[in-house]
Symmetry: C2
Amino acid sequence: MVVELVSVGTELLLGNIVNTNASFLAEKCAALGLACYYQTVVGDNEERLIDTLKLALSRSDVVILCGGLGPTPDDLTKETAAKVMQMPLVEDIYTKKRIEEYFKNSQWKVIPDNNWKQAFVPKGAKVVDNNNGTAPGIIMEKNEKVVILLPGPPNELIPMFNQGIAPYLNSLQPEIIYSKMVKLVGIGESQVADEISDLIENQSNPTIATYAKTGEVHLRITAKAKDEESAKKLIKPMVKELKQRFGVNIYSTKEEETLEAATVALLQKYNLSLTTAESCTGGLLSGRLVNVPGVSKVLKQGFITYSDKAKRKLLDVNKSTLKMYGAVSEETVKEMAKGGIFATDSDICLAVTGIAGPDGGTAEKPVGLVYIGCYIKDKIFVKKYEFKGNREKIREYAVVRALDLLRRCILEQYS
Amino acid sequence: MVVELVSVGTELLLGNIVNTNASFLAEKCAALGLACYYQTVVGDNEERLIDTLKLALSRSDVVILCGGLGPTPDDLTKETAAKVMQMPLVEDIYTKKRIEEYFKNSQWKVIPDNNWKQAFVPKGAKVVDNNNGTAPGIIMEKNEKVVILLPGPPNELIPMFNQGIAPYLNSLQPEIIYSKMVKLVGIGESQVADEISDLIENQSNPTIATYAKTGEVHLRITAKAKDEESAKKLIKPMVKELKQRFGVNIYSTKEEETLEAATVALLQKYNLSLTTAESCTGGLLSGRLVNVPGVSKVLKQGFITYSDKAKRKLLDVNKSTLKMYGAVSEETVKEMAKGGIFATDSDICLAVTGIAGPDGGTAEKPVGLVYIGCYIKDKIFVKKYEFKGNREKIREYAVVRALDLLRRCILEQYS
């Protein structure tokens, strides 16, 4: 089955916002086993929207339009799609009530007149609940084609797709598609590809798709079967095989779990407190950890020691160490990690020092040189890296590798 | 003149990467006064690429294709575009030499056979230098239509567009387009719109376009004229008018200057050192400051004090203050800022405490409540905010407002 994505919004055509909806929907559709050959962006313009939708319907089975479902007159995705599908708009009592409820629970209380427009739905269409806004999702079926309308704001679109649209798309297919993520860190994409080349060559059902993220590799295992139960049975031995091949390189098999969440979960599991001591990452490591709700139970404090003086004063790094080996050295990162432990009463200290550039590099210590140290159970583990890329990329890689070192150290020392 | 953007790459159709090239090119084209009605994403597939390019040429004057210029056989954007434009590929000696040079200066030294493919150029096309990679940019002109090919990697595409393509597009138009950015912070989008409604209503040349970013509003003033000199003359009084209306709310009029860069520039100008003391932002404020190369001259260190204990130990916040007013209070943020100064010998301390959620909010202190304190010249300035949004958004707003408070305090106390 072929799906096509159409994003509607003049703000996209003007480059005001980045189209993250398209990449979200594309990845989800791929995971559902749907082929996608085109994505289009078009403005809030009836004529061009009609042309775009007609073209999409001529070459695809399912067209997903997102955006342009708001209450103002310039939002015309629903009106236009209803026209193209020849399904007139009628007031939907259920949606009207839901909009009333939504406003009753909001800070506004009073419902703007405009919003009643959102209670109109193409006759015969399915309505999909929006738990985070007023515009409902809409599914129109006619002449073996499907048009799906989704609201543009990602915080409305994402949960609506996951809860209401994905199961619907799965129900359209003769076989169900089920997939599972295996997330790896600390191993390169090409090495992963090499180590699973036999699995990929011989794959039929399930299949493996590789996604490279900054410092991470995600493998999506997808199976087709008559029901979820059977699909899961097909996937299970493949996940087991990958676990055997990649072992500790796998940090999660949960779809939504991030590296920082998996790392914080380990700290919580073993009831360990953490301190960070950051030089070149300047707070990004700690900032990434506090993405995780509830991190305050394990992360009490952190140090940003950008200057030599701060390293000495806050982390008690020896003046002679800095002089002899420099701020970016194995010796300094060790003393930073140790100092972080002594300055607090944490169980673990994770320290980072490096040269993020663009200046400050030398032949001996080039831009991208980063040392990461982890003090845990009275031992210190140090890793040395030479990252490629600009200032931002080098620091991003350093954060990922620091989280990975922490994760591995906890597993080694506590599990 | 109408431009259309076509992004080529199966990785986009699979949702493997987000299409930031499209938003970059869209914003740049809008700034050049070009209308854009469609953006398309298509895979590395000859047939569909031909259809897409033909359709784009039928409705637009200029088609910009990006991606698919790599050395491997699946990269076929150039071959396909040459076919559609009926301009056969011929070896370009100049490009061949440039590729040789590129490899000589790289870490690889040896040129892979594949790469010679990149020295072939459609006959009669203009070649645009790529200073960050091997694939050249290409401009094809025929039958009053223009097709432009750009490499997909943003670090190649962005400088190539700015240096080689933007001036070319400008040269196609009877009048030159010149624009200038005025960047505001600490003032809402609707308030900005209200205060310039008269200017927008009466605008003809120059025009003003509003772009809302997280916590910021950017105004792009665009003028058309026979040459850059004349366009600049049209823009100058408008910038002056905006400066009069918005005063200190404007943090920069430089296209590429970020809020953190403008703030660091102020610290450098007055030779001031800064310490950060972060609770709910957990390192993100400091992490954003260290985006700026050379920040180490003014930012020596910072504290992440997530727990009450850390606030007491590292920043000497009083136990009684925390007990009486709570960690998220005006009193606590004041003591954090003061404590940061005493713990270091910095000139300024910027402190943030708040409730980022999703838990921890109460009726009195809801999720989103954030206090920001700035200790400067023996005075403390405090701002209280109630931000809306999820955990990530609340922390992003807090960082922007903290940078803004710092900027305003420096201007008030030192200029």
